[in-house]
């Protein structure tokens, strides 16, 4: 039985609540972490290489170097997130022992288990997981995720997949709200999601945890777009530190997350940013190199 009132669930979702309306930025060293904090990031995500470099260089992408994560943890005062490979519960245990504030069980790293995700209910540290649709989101919440983010297509600089995923999740939630009670079991079967979570979404029209967006955000306009579509905060990976002026762009995306409803202020945030990261057309990425199809 899923326990929404457990102390652990409330604390984990509580921290996710505090991150709403903000920008979580990927960083690979202390210098970048400080730039992110100074720009107004609400958290930093430590990883070894940003997604666009992982895509370019290939090889196995693992949890980040401990010394670097420790140095970032000591250098900034905002929450520290770190990525573990899908299913790699021992990387997660090590990150928990290190004292990170949130773990991202992430498709950006090379999966360690092709069948099973981490049993996140068994941890004290909160987890965020990627999802492309409502079924995937609810499976992850059932396993204990305290936050969902759309997967998008990390490292692509192309917002189209993040848009597809947030639209899909929002549409599937809306559809549940108009179903009769007797229809929910079949809906749960189709979504391949736990019935009690399907019932919760049908009743409330939202996820039981915060719903953020990631995977392709490169400009203030991108951030505002996914927030208009229902994302409650954004993750920016390669988009900041692969642009020509990271500090300025980081700041502009923070302003955009707050002003997603105000075109005049978005115009102001979009000025004088220099070049965005180079983007990739999704259809030109070989299917085997798509990151979003990792995990289920």
């Amino acid at each position: 039985m899923f326990n929404f009132s457990s102390e652990q669930f409330r604390l984990n979702v509580g921290l996710a609540e505090m991150l709403k309306g903000g920008v979580i930025m990927d960083v690979t060293n202390v210098e970048q972490a400080k730039i992110a904090e100074d720009a107004g990031a609400s958290a930093v995500m430590a990883l070894e290489r940003v997604p666009s470099d992982i895509r370019k260089e290939g090889g196995v992408a693992r949890m980040a170097n401990i010394e670097i994560m420790e140095a970032i943890k000591n250098a900034v005062h905002i929450p520290l997130m770190a990525k573990a490979r899908i299913g790699h519960f021992m990387e997660a245990r090590i990150l928990e022992a290190l004292g990170v504030d949130f773990i991202d069980e992430s498709e950006v790293l090379t999966p360690a288990d092709e069948e099973h995700h981490i049993d996140k209910n068994d941890f004290k540290v909160p987890f965020v997981c990627g999802a492309r649709n409502l079924g995937e989101a609810l499976r992850r919440i059932g396993e204990g995720a305290a936050m969902i983010r759309t997967k998008g297509e990390a490292g692509s600089g192309n917002i189209v997949e993040a848009v597809r995923h947030i639209r899909t999740i929002v549409r599937e939630m809306k559809q549940l709200t108009v179903l009769g009670k007797e229809e929910l079991a079949a809906a749960a079967k189709n979504l391949q999601a736990p019935l009690e979570l399907v019932e919760w979404v049908a009743q409330h029209g939202t996820l039981p945890v915060p719903n953020f967006s990631a995977g392709g955000i490169a400009t203030p306009a991108d951030a505002a777009l996914v927030m208009q579509l229902g994302a409650e905060a954004v993750f920016v990976g390669s988009g900041i530190f692969k642009s020509s002026d990271p500090a300025n762009r980081a700041n502009a995306i923070v302003m955009a997350a707050k002003n997603y409803n105000n075109p005049e202020k978005l115009l102001e945030a979009s000025r004088s940013l220099g070049a965005a990261m180079p983007g990739l057309e999704i259809s030109k990425i070989p299917e085997g190199e798509l990151l979003q199809t990792r995990g289920w």
């Binding site: 604390l11 609540e17 505090m18 903000g22 107004g40 609400s42 005062h77 004292g99 540290v125 707050k258």
Partner: protein
Amino acid sequence: MKRVGVLSLQGDFAAHGAALERAGAAPVYVRERSQLGEIDGLILPGGESTTMLKLLRHENLFDELAEFGRRKPVFGTCAGAILMATDVTNPPQESLGLMDIAVERNAYGRQLDSRVVELDPAPEFEMRTAPGKLEAVFIRAPIIRRAGNGAQVLAEYAGDPVLIEQGRHLVATFHPELTTDARVHCLFLGKL
């Protein structure tokens, strides 16, 4: 009916809006300077205080909020309490100085040190609201290291004040908006 603003730059402003509704008030989500004229009191929510400071400066809201607090009641929780203090440490950062308190950020530790506890509030709190224990959700919470003259401590945890009233203002280092107990929000509404 009194109009209560919730500063909605970043953080758990929506949770405060829901808590105000439970307490019987309609929230105004404040994102622009012009909205300060429409409200009788303001809540500064939880979130990241450095992010909020950045946005306050960028939106030219910092001095306006300090001025608002000289006339009207303000209630800050967690990051909001940090913004309202006169002194902030770990690390030092600027603040509105609405309340004569010194606050240390993240003083209990990191997320793994976050906790839910039951407090025995001061008799004054129960007298003005309703009797009963107070559930307190601490998330990467600050500690109030010093409270100046005229501060009334309404609840303590482990020897430190966690809910303080000073003149027209109120601060909590925990998150009453993340519980179903509306008494702290009701107390604030009573100050408007």
